[in-house]
């Protein structure tokens, strides 16, 4: 029995080198497999979530992200919705826009964004909108996150 354990021990120890080589030589393959097998994405709290709708103006485009309520075990009572304006070079000095983030045909909030100073003002038009969370300067544009109530909670 002890001899068998020793043989298994040495075999596993010797396999450490091929394992390491397999990791480095197949790293890009394993990376894709890992992501595909687990189906993970970067948290929508960090990315703002997937873009669900885009609205084109003459020179710039508005992207409305999905509503984010993700919690550890169940959805949170409050979340956010992110709206982006791109590209930066075509943005007017001031943006005044009504946004319908849930696509129900009713505007949910009005946003006034000073693109020079990155100051934003949000006016709620529906009860589900709490207010401005933060405005951001993106690499090629600007974004605003608005705090909203979860309609399912």
């Amino acid at each position: 029995m002890s001899k068998l354990r020793a043989i298994i021990g040495y075999t596993l120890a010797a396999l450490a080198v091929p394992l390491v080589l397999a990791v480095f030589m197949g790293q890009s393959f394993w990376m894709k497999e890992l992501v595909a097998a687990t189906g993970v994405k970067v948290s929508p709290w960090l990315t703002g979530g997937d873009v669900i709708r885009t609205i084109s103006h003459d020179e710039y485009q508005i992207s409305i992200h999905e509503q984010v309520f993700q919690g550890l075990l169940s959805e949170k009572k409050e979340g956010l919705v992110q709206v982006d304006w791109k590209p930066a070079k075509n943005l007017p000095d001031r943006i005044d826009e009504d946004i319908d983030y849930d696509g129900d045909g009713k505007n949910d909030f009005h946003i006034a964004l000073d693109t020079k100073s990155n100051q934003a003002y949000v006016q709620s038009l529906q009860t589900g909108v709490i207010g401005l969370e933060k405005s951001y300067v993106l690499k090629d544009g600007q974004a605003v996150r608005v705090r909203i109530k979860n309609p399912r909670k």
Partner: protein, 390 residues
């Protein structure tokens, strides 16, 4: 025979050189492939940097094989890698962004490089929400999340917590500072501090899961001082900056200098605690031959990560926090402490176990550290010749 009198059989000088050369050959081949990546660059900083790196890594491995000693060569190279990592990383950031500070635009774009220290805090949210609570890129760009996860999985299976002495590109900082003084000014450290990394681990894992943000990165990681940090735009980011700089100075610089121990790695790092769990499934460990050991306590007093105490020495094995750095093996005056393969007898073939451990550990060190040394050397050569690193 005195307790401190050596009882180690040393192979005669003549036969040690061919054996060391023979054992270095696989590393010579693999390090060449990894460092030169299949092509020799034209004469210039890149070729010089790659050639020096290739030489350093192979000389160090040869010396490990020739002398039979591990720790001092590994620790020196480990420190060089950490310093080179910071030089390369910071100069790249300055070249790309113009600053070590990362702003919200880059974070929202998923351009924060992922590092292994975040792994313990992302696992519960990943399992329950199928999302990663880190503002990085899954597959693309520098230090992608999936890329680092694959490296971590491979290294964890092959080395267990050996990661912390052979792979971690931050560990070399406190290792370096811990070796600067010849004698420790603080010798007695309450063993209850050994529980601190576990406490930090539990707190940050739970908080990160509840808040769905990487709490350790945001508030506690001392290595932001030598890599990148959130741009100071508010009182919150100012407090975060004060905390991580203080932790770096305290845990990575001052306390290792005073104690000659790796305080950050041994008594604070939550990833280190997490990684200890995988020592249980790893095939390599450190054992103490009870017939040779005279309980002189040298290994207990010298272990950089507090992974040996009287009880575990009497039981003949290191604690699960052992990083397999080799210090106890090298320092034991009677050769009683050895690298060991689980399932094999402790007394036999101790150098076989050491060599079998050193190969995967060193290949990992070369693959990850080699590119960092090349990058830093090339930039330093550029600095010396053009006056600019960028």
């Amino acid at each position: 025979m005195s307790v401190l009198e050596p009882e180690v059989n040393i192979t005669p000088q003549k036969s040690r050189i061919p054996r060391a050369v023979f054992l270095t050959l696989p590393v010579l081949l693999l390090s060449g492939l990894m460092i030169f990546q299949g092509s020799i660059p034209k004469m210039g900083p890149d070729l010089i940097a790659k050639s020096i790196t290739f030489l350093i890594f192979n000389v160090v491995f040869f010396l490990m094989m020739y002398t039979g000693k591990t720790y001092k060569y590994r620790a020196t190279l480990f420190t060089i890698i950490a310093v080179c990592f910071s030089i390369g990383f910071i100069s790249n950031l300055i070249a790309i962004r113009g600053s070590m500070a990362i702003d919200e635009a880059h974070m929202l774009a998923g351009e924060t490089p992922f590092c292994h220290l975040v792994i313990p805090v992302i696992l519960i949210p990943a399992a329950l929400t199928r999302t990663i609570i880190f503002p990085g890129s899954l597959l693309t760009g520098f230090a992608s999340i999936a890329g680092m996860m694959v490296l971590w999985l491979g290294a964890t299976l092959a080395l267990g917590r050996g990661w912390c002495s052979w792979v971690c590109f931050f560990g070399g900082f406190d290792e370096g500072f811990s070796r600067l003084r010849k004698k420790a000014l603080i010798k007695k450290i309450d063993p209850r501090w050994n529980y601190l990394p576990w406490a930090v681990l539990i707190v940050i894992v739970l908080l990160s899961a509840l808040l769905l943000t990487p709490v350790y990165c945001e508030w506690l990681c001392p290595f932001k001082t030598v890599t990148e940090f959130t741009k100071i735009t508010s009182f919150k980011t100012l407090v975060q900056t004060v905390i991580f700089i203080s932790l770096f100075l305290g845990l990575v610089v001052v306390l290792p200098l005073l104690t000659r121990r790796r305080i950050q790695c041994g008594l604070f790092c939550p990833f280190a605690a997490f990684q200890s769990i995988f020592n249980k499934i790893n095939i390599f460990d450190i054992r103490v031959d009870q017939e040779k050991c005279k309980y002189c306590r040298k290994c207990v007093n010298e272990c950089p990560t507090f992974s040996l105490n009287e009880e575990c020495v009497k039981e003949g094995r290191a604690l699960m926090s052992c990083t397999k750095c080799g210090k106890c093996v090298d320092d034991c005056p009677r050769g009683a402490v050895t690298y060991h393969i689980k399932g094999t007898p402790v007394k036999l073939q101790s150098d076989t176990a050491r060599v079998l451990f050193l190969y995967p550990a060193y290949i990992f060190m070369t693959a990850i550290g080699g590119s960092m040394v090349v990058d830093a050397l090339a930039k330093l050569i550029k600095l010396a010749t053009t006056g600019s690193m960028i």
